[in-house]
């Protein structure tokens, strides 16, 4: 648990630096590798709930704040997204704001730290 807390704090501190640098910091690379290898336990629940792996990885382990991703109350009219009318969703009585997928490109593109979903060579 201590290891996870240390990682989250350290990675969070590096997050701003990551934006400005071309190369991701070593700690972020290590965390991503450890999550994939199973060295860091993120549970087995594949779901988008707060208890699931998805939020555990991004929020607890990588230290990303809710507001960092959930920024939009509603997408602009001209935003071309099939599901844009779903937001704001109500989850457990709280409104969940929309996430703009563009935020994911940086880490999830080929050549970066996270599992590659975008810009495959």
């Amino acid at each position: 648990m201590k290891k996870v807390l240390f990682l989250a704090t350290a990675i969070s501190a590096f997050a701003t630096v990551t934006m400005a640098e071309d190369k991701p910091p070593k700690l972020l690379i290590k965390a991503a590798g450890d999550i994939r290898a199973g060295t860091i336990n993120v549970g087995k629940e594949y779901s988008l709930t707060e208890e699931g792996r998805y939020h555990k990885i991004h929020n607890e382990i990588l230290g990303m704040k809710c507001k960092g991703c959930h920024t939009h109350d509603a997408y602009p009219d001209s935003y071309l997204n099939l599901s844009k009318d779903e937001f704001p969703k109500t989850v457990d009585g709280e409104k969940t704001k929309a996430v703009e997928p563009a935020k994911c490109i940086g880490c999830h593109s080929e050549g970066n730290v996270a599992t590659v979903f975008y810009n495959k060579q």
Binding site: Y46, S47, Y54, S78, L82, F117
Partner: protein
């Protein structure tokens, strides 16, 4: 091998939503899990304004991020076949929703614990009462569903050896593309340089949406205001 793409001309589309209604009937999509929606918005400043209509369905990407996420999670419920169609295997899907979060176009629709019918609270439509025309028409709770390019029609053409009629014969063409009253939608083989879609894309400079994601969508748009 043929590779099927769709072209949507937003300069011709006037927002009648026939394609949306046709898809709902053909594929029994429920209001909670739409397969085809119309995004409508205004651009410009008075007096120079325009109303824009963009229908969105699955882009059947060449490098689908939904499939990459599903594979990475180990479920392998999403496949892309040799004709370029991205399909969800409802028996393998566990409803984790990872595909829905990674799709740049917000396409995959995750069903809740209860699947509603087309008109909740009313009698099932005649079409719904016919039962499942194909495994892809099953409605399953906690499962992801999305546009299939009307695969149940395409596979009939393939089985009959009539692939060259896809996009031309009504039985072998996605229903949304058939019903457009102003021919703003085309469907065909992009590997054939003489096909309707190949020539239209070239002539009208059709492009894909959100190219920054590098997923290489197979739905092309003729857009009013340049690239999006």
């Amino acid at each position: 091998m043929a590779k099927f793409v769709r072209v949507i001309d937003t300069e011709r589309c006037f927002g009648c939503r026939s394609c949306v209604a046709a898809c709902a009937v053909e594929n029994h999509f429920t209001p909670e899990s739409p397969w085809n929606v119309m995004v409508e918005y205004e651009t410009g400043h008075y007096p120079n304004t325009a109303r824009n209509f963009v229908t969105m369905n699955c882009m059947h990407c060449e490098h689908p991020s939904c499939k990459a996420a599903c594979d990475a999670a180990g479920f392998k419920a999403i496949s892309k076949n040799e004709f370029g169609v991205v399909l969800v295997d409802y028996d393998k899907c566990v409803g984790c929703g990872y595909c829905a979060t990674t799709c740049p176009y917000g396409v995959p629709q995750l069903n809740g614990a209860k699947v509603e019918q087309l008109y909740p609270g009313a009698e099932k439509t005649a079409y719904e009462q016919m039962g499942n025309l194909s495994p892809l028409h099953r409605k399953k709770a906690r499962t992801v569903e999305k546009c299939t390019f009307c695969w149940h029609k395409l596979e009939k053409a393939i089985a009959a050896g009539r692939v060259n009629e896809i996009g031309k014969t009504p039985d072998f063409t996605p229903t949304c593309d058939l019903v457009c009253p102003v021919q703003a939608r085309l469907f065909g083989d992009i590997d054939d340089p003489t096909s309707n879609v190949s020539t239209y894309i070239a002539r009208k400079k059709a492009t894909q949406l959100k190219k920054a994601f590098g997923t290489m969508p197979q739905v092309y748009y003729v857009l009013n205001g340049g690239e999006y």
